[in-house]
Assembly symmetry: C2
Homo-oligomer: 277 residues x 2
């Protein structure tokens, strides 16, 4: 019997899929759903769970211990709230006093959370250890459309920019068209960035969305993620394709996502060997 | 008599002010207004001008020569169009073939344009040589409000991020609140970035807008600019202040801009000694 898994659930579809995977495999599990981030569909799914505020670290850790959880996986995007929203409990206050809230980007924060979980005795595992390696983007062209030369040039520029942003711990994504950086992602998220690109696009061949893992990224937290909605939004923004880190980005609903890209004429490309500028 | 000045006019209020300054000083001048960028108020102002497409470099240079222009100043933001929009004439085509359109960000492009103007025999001067040093932001607090400790921490983070973006030749601005990078500016411009910040802000003390000169920036082209509208938009986005490069950012309508900031409770800070991360 594999050890009981604690699923710390941020946003999106993946936490529910992780719970379903455990259920299928007969593996014991418990969901710690982060209030304001976890998907409503998860909260009403009948899986064993508790909803906690992000600031209630003490309570959350206590629940995981009480449930006999030994391994923990963090799934789904979270964004660092303001201190006012956070209302940290005593354990969270000590944690933030130690790591220094103000200096942290999202990745720095998640990295610290993982260290904290480990110091509490939990083993922290990556999403792919729960959902299987097929959740990770593979290298090369994943659908039936391939990027042309201009698109590859745009992908290269996008990787350069996204990695530069990643080094700054700001975001993971950007949109490039004909060498022009149309948009850069900060806290608004990929969907909002894509939504504004429709109004920023130039005539001629459409641009590309690039989402890469931050060079220093903790692989067990918040990998860049794409899914069916990303494809649809990229298409609506006039883009011609998407490039992500092979082995370092999550592909939610792989089959449906690639099928949608194929149907809409977008390429999906896994890039390797990205290095910080 | 100072040599005849060619004013290559991008967007905003400053090109018209430059023409007015020449008129006041009795200095000969001629405006080359870039189609799609130059302000309608300039086009109908009665100043001697010709409107040219950005792609019509050959025609534009010919007009400047024909007008007896010796010095040139480039004023007001332009954005690199797509190749399709550009429809380059023969001189512009040779220029782009030489510099490689696809690899260029805005700054790289402007730098190349300046080299090209110089190779045509023009002397290219900075905006402050036409509008006076008072157009440049000064160091320190420029109005009656000063940033508090949290705002200074946010400014420092913003400078780090904006310089990092600048190194990538992507943009010059970002918004930081309580250490969180709410937004990063690419091609949409500062006003559009500020507009989306209202929906991204967190509770608690408001954020700051930071606009800095790119570390490698050609000082004679496209310095970061703020004005009355920037103050109004920053206030509407819930921000508490603005920081810009002292001596490396333009302050349009200095008196009115600072007065608006004072009235709305925003600080305006000139930062010095920024270094790339």
């Amino acid at each position: 019997m594999r050890p009981k898994l604690g699923i710390i659930a941020g946003g999106g579809d993946l936490p529910l899929k992780a719970a379903e995977a455990c259920q299928r495999q007969g593996r014991p599990y418990f969901v710690l759903a982060l209030d304001g981030f976890a998907d409503p569909a998860l909260l009403t799914s009948g899986h064993p769970l508790a909803v906690v505020r992000m600031g209630a670290a003490g309570k959350g850790f206590g629940i995981l211990h009480q449930q006999g959880v030994q391994e923990v996986v963090m799934i789904g995007p979270v964004r660092r709230p303001s201190l006012a929203d956070l209302r940290p409990d005593w354990k969270a206050t000590k944690f933030f006093a130690r790591v220094g809230l103000r200096a942290l980007g999202d990745d720095g924060l998640l990295r610290s959370v993982i260290r904290e979980l480990e110091s509490e005795g939990f083993t922290v595992v990556g999403v792919e250890q729960v959902l299987g390696e097929e959740i990770l983007a593979s290298a090369g062209v994943m659908g039936c459309h391939a990027p042309d030369q201009q698109a590859l040039v745009d992908v290269a520029r996008g990787v350069e920019v996204a990695l530069g942003l990643g080094v700054l711990d700001v975001g993971q994504g950007c949109v490039v068209q004909q060498g022009l950086v149309l948009a850069v992602e900060a806290i608004e998220g990929t969907d909002a960035m894509l939504a504004r690109c429709a109004g920023l696009r130039r005539d001629g061949p459409g641009g590309v969305l690039v989402k890469v893992r931050k060079p220093q990224q903790e692989a067990r937290a918040d990998l860049p993620t794409i899914g069916v909605n990303t494809i649809t939004a990229a298409h609506a923004a006039g883009l011609r394709g998407i490039a992500v880190s092979a082995g370092g980005a999550l592909l939610v609903n792989r089959t449906q996502t690639i099928a949608r890209a194929d149907a809409l004429g977008l390429f999906v490309l896994g890039v390797t060997g990205e290095t910080a500028p």
